[in-house]
């Protein structure tokens, strides 16, 4: 990789990135051919600086172009490439290969609990449906003072800061055992985004959202298993946010 880039004088020590062989076992599914998903092995020569996403690129670009997966920004912001890596939901672009146990094969499969479309791609619509249901937009009918901005103190902003970090990657929702059961539960991500507006001092629609989440399939189905908090690639304290929404619903106000 480096030979044509290097200056004269040979490679310097920090230019030499160690390489290793890693085995990826990817759960492939082509709906036009397969009845059932199947596990396929790939042996790859990778660098210590490579992420799981780079390994998937290598497969797609050099070995089998039919491998299907989503990715957009490839830097942990867009939330497209959440997948199950060694049994845990992670972003492929934020998971370094060297942080996994590369002496063993790395298992990669699509998110659980959402309909599988092809290879690592799932249908995200059920996930976005429950996101839409909590009405994740600012509801404010009153005119702001002086007709300019809705001012907010830094304390008021800090109240919901954690839940503004959500990138809607579905890692939390698809790690939730309650969501797996029948798919009726709103799921952690929708509640996180409701939290973001319920506790926003500028918003006037908290009551509407709390009524929605006070439903049979709302926050009360949460069993506090912390899977969502473990899965969140942004480190959002998801279970805590859900607990705060529960408290708000019990109080009847944020």
């Amino acid at each position: 990789m480096a030979s044509d880039v290097l200056e004269k004088g040979g490679p310097r020590a920090h230019d030499v990135v160690p390489t290793f062989t890693v085995t990826l076992i990817v759960r492939r599914f082509d709906p036009e051919v397969d009845d059932e998903p199947r596990w396929v092995d790939y042996d790859l020569q990778m660098h210590g600086t490579d992420r799981v996403l780079d390994a998937l690129h290598k497969i797609k670009w050099e070995i089998d172009g039919s491998l299907a997966f989503r990715r957009s920004c490839a830097h942990g912001v867009c939330g497209s490439d959440a997948m199950r890596i060694n049994g845990r939901n992670r972003l492929a672009c934020k998971t370094l290969l060297k942080d996994l146990d590369i002496s063993k094969p790395i298992y990669i499969e699509a998110l659980k609990g959402l309909p599988l479309e092809k290879d690592l791609i799932v249908d995200m619509e059920p996930f976005f449906d429950s996101f839409r249901e909590v009405q994740p937009f600012l509801m404010a009918s009153s005119k702001p003072k002086d007709g300019k901005e809705r001012l907010q103190s830094s304390e008021e902003r800090a109240r919901f800061d954690d839940t503004t970090k959500c990138i809607l990657c579905a890692a939390c929702t698809s790690s939730c055992p309650v969501f797996w059961t029948d798919g009726q539960y709103f799921g952690p991500a929708a509640i996180v985004n409701a939290h973001r507006f319920i506790f926003d001092s500028r918003d006037e629609g908290s009551q509407v959202r709390m009524d929605i989440l006070n439903d049979r399939e709302g926050v009360w189905r949460c069993r506090t298993t912390f899977n969502c908090t473990d899965a969140c690639p942004r480190g959002i304290q998801v279970t805590q946010a859900i607990a705060e929404v529960k408290q708000a619903i019990m109080r009847g106000k944020p």
Binding site: E133, F137, A140, S141, P144, E149, D182, D211, R221
Partner: protein
Amino acid sequence: MTVSIETPRAPRTVRRGGINWEKWGWIYMRVSGVALVVLIFGHLFVNLMIGHGVKALDFAFVGGKLSNPFWQWWDTLLLWLALIHGANGMRTITNDYARNNLVNLILKGAILAATIVLLILGTLVIFTFDPCPAGAAANLLPTFCSAG
């Protein structure tokens, strides 16, 4: 210039009145959970650790405890809180996994029936238990049987 957003285009019907059972079920689980920690560990401590420990457990020990109003009410509370706590947990699991309406209804009916029967039976035993059955050997009975 800020834009004011009028009422959302897809207003959602607010839940009809009545008791929100899911909410109260959740609160019950939390409250009874805390109470059960005290009740269960108190029960285990008194039965298994104080005095002669587990060796002291026999008919006389249980008979003695169940003739004391304090332990009668302790055990009644333990029975009702724990059984309803467990039954509610089973109900939640049933709702999660039994997707067929009929199966769901049958399972929940069975849980409800079992809970009611066990609550009545258990309460009956706690309050009608005779610690001094006639004709039993005196050395097996609580000491107060022979005293009276």
